[in-house]
């Protein structure tokens, strides 16, 4: 496999984490335009862990996930009281606040003769753990997809459990769920914390494969795309967001002949898909149909 293909597949894997993060909140009935902030927090915390504190990547990733979960919980405490567009606007505002805070962080020190660490709008250079430890691009791709497979399998298992049914019920009709004795607020906060941790995991991996991040990497464009991944792919199964990312990055890569106009072409394609299938390609009906066909074929 050539390096370009490895790069594209790594990107699909990395952005799948933020897509899953937006998908989880959509399942719980919340439209978030702010998941890019937790992706960014993950990138910065993970980068500080390995580049400045000398931690191994797994430890830095755990710290980043904890920070992402904590940050999304803090944002969720006041904002999850809001509904629909109000929640969406509040998450966007919170994400912009977090991005501006990242622009204000200056925390550099000399490592191996080079200045390393967050330098405000100039970004965070020197997140070189995978290069310092001789991890080849193919090995990093395998790491990203192994982690993604673990996350997807875990979420698929949860979706088939009682907890998964409860989350979908809260997303569909929170009043009915509350009447049935479900603590809707606490459940949504728990889902938000998991979503924050997942976005942060994607962020820490993104920072390490690029060696450099800056606050502008985590602006509204990434938030819109993360939501689009889940909505294009479909809300019927955890595999939907993965399909969304693959279609998004695949479409972007395959429409290079349109040069700078390809985002416009891509936007049109997304709009058409959402008019045709408002809950995405793999929506609940499609998943049900696929499930029945597969079940019928099983002896």
């Amino acid at each position: 496999m050539d390096e370009y293909t490895i790069g594209v597949l790594t990107n699909i894997g990395l952005f799948s984490f933020i897509a899953l993060s937006a998908y989880l909140l959509l399942l719980a009935g919340e439209l978030s335009f702010g998941q890019q902030a937790f992706f960014g927090i993950g990138a910065y915390v993970g980068g500080i862990g390995t580049a400045l504190l000398g931690w191994p990547l797994p430890l830095a990733a755990l710290a980043a996930m904890a920070a992402g979960a904590a940050a999304q919980t803090l944002v969720g405490l006041p904002t999850l009281r809001l509904r629909g567009l109000y929640f969406a606007m509040a998450t966007l505002a919170a994400a912009e606040m977090i991005r501006i805070v990242l622009e204000l962080i200056h925390f550099q020190r000399v490592v191996d003769g080079a200045l390393v660490g967050p330098d405000g709008t100039q970004g965070f250079r020197g997140i070189r753990w995978i290069f310092e430890h001789g991890i080849e691009p193919a090995a990093f791709l395998a790491l990203v997809w192994s982690l993604l497979a673990c996350v997807v399998l875990l979420l698929a298992w949860i979706e088939r459990s009682r907890l998964g049914a409860v989350v979908r019920m809260v997303g569909e009709d929170p009043e009915l769920a509350a009447v049935l004795g479900i603590d809707v607020g606490r459940l949504k906060l728990g889902v938000a914390a998991v979503a924050g941790a997942l976005a942060a995991l994607g962020g820490v991996l993104f920072a390490h494969v690029n060696t450099y991040v800056e606050p502008r990497n985590f602006d509204i464009m990434l938030g819109v795309h993360s939501l689009a991944y889940a909505l294009i792919g479909g809300l019927g199964t955890v595999f939907g967001p993965l399909l969304g990312v693959a279609l998004d990055i695949g479409a972007l890569e395959s429409t290079r002949l349109f040069h700078g106009y390809r985002m416009i072409v891509f936007g049109g394609v997304v709009a058409l898909i959402l008019v045709w299938r408002p809950r995405g390609l793999l929506d609940e009906r499609a998943v049900d149909w696929l499930g029945r066909r597969l079940w019928r074929r099983t002896p």
Binding site: Y4, P56, G123, R125, E132, H133, N210, H225, L252, H259
Partner: protein
């Protein structure tokens, strides 16, 4: 299980770290066609020209790292040691983060931010002439 987790957490500590980081200076001139640039890259390590590496150059726009990205192109070694030449085709003017992927004698990734305009490139933040 505990041993596995401990190994996974601290596996990186046992591996050797590289001492010096390669550095790059990039200067791009407009090649004639719109958004096409010829770039000269000067690579160095410990103040000496860095030779014997393969350089692949890609580019991203910082505000959307994957939406506006350029398919990586291989740089050719120039006449002087440590000099490499590459032609890149961007999608628009503005600030781009050039990603220099080094392989061979040294494996690394160097990110250089440049502002691209009609004439060529300058350091990010520097105003370029644009039509």
């Amino acid at each position: 299980m505990k041993r596995f987790i401990a190994f996974a957490l601290f596996a990186g500590l046992a591996l050797p770290a590289q001492a010096a980081h390669p550095e790059a200076k990039v200067d791009c001139k407009a090649a004639g066609d719109k958004y096409v640039y010829d770039c000269m890259i000067r690579l160095s390590q410990d103040g000496k020209p860095l030779t014997g590496v393969e350089v692949t150059v890609g580019a991203d726009m910082p505000t959307m790292p994957m939406a506006h990205s350029v398919k990586p192109a291989k740089a050719k070694p120039g006449k002087d040691p440590g000099m490499y030449h590459v032609r890149i085709e961007l999608e628009m003017h503005g600030e781009w983060a050039l990603k220099l992927q080094l392989s061979g004698a040294v494996r690394d990734l160097i990110v250089v931010k440049q502002q691209f305009g009609d004439e060529g490139s300058g350091h990010a933040g520097q105003k370029m002439q644009m039509k």
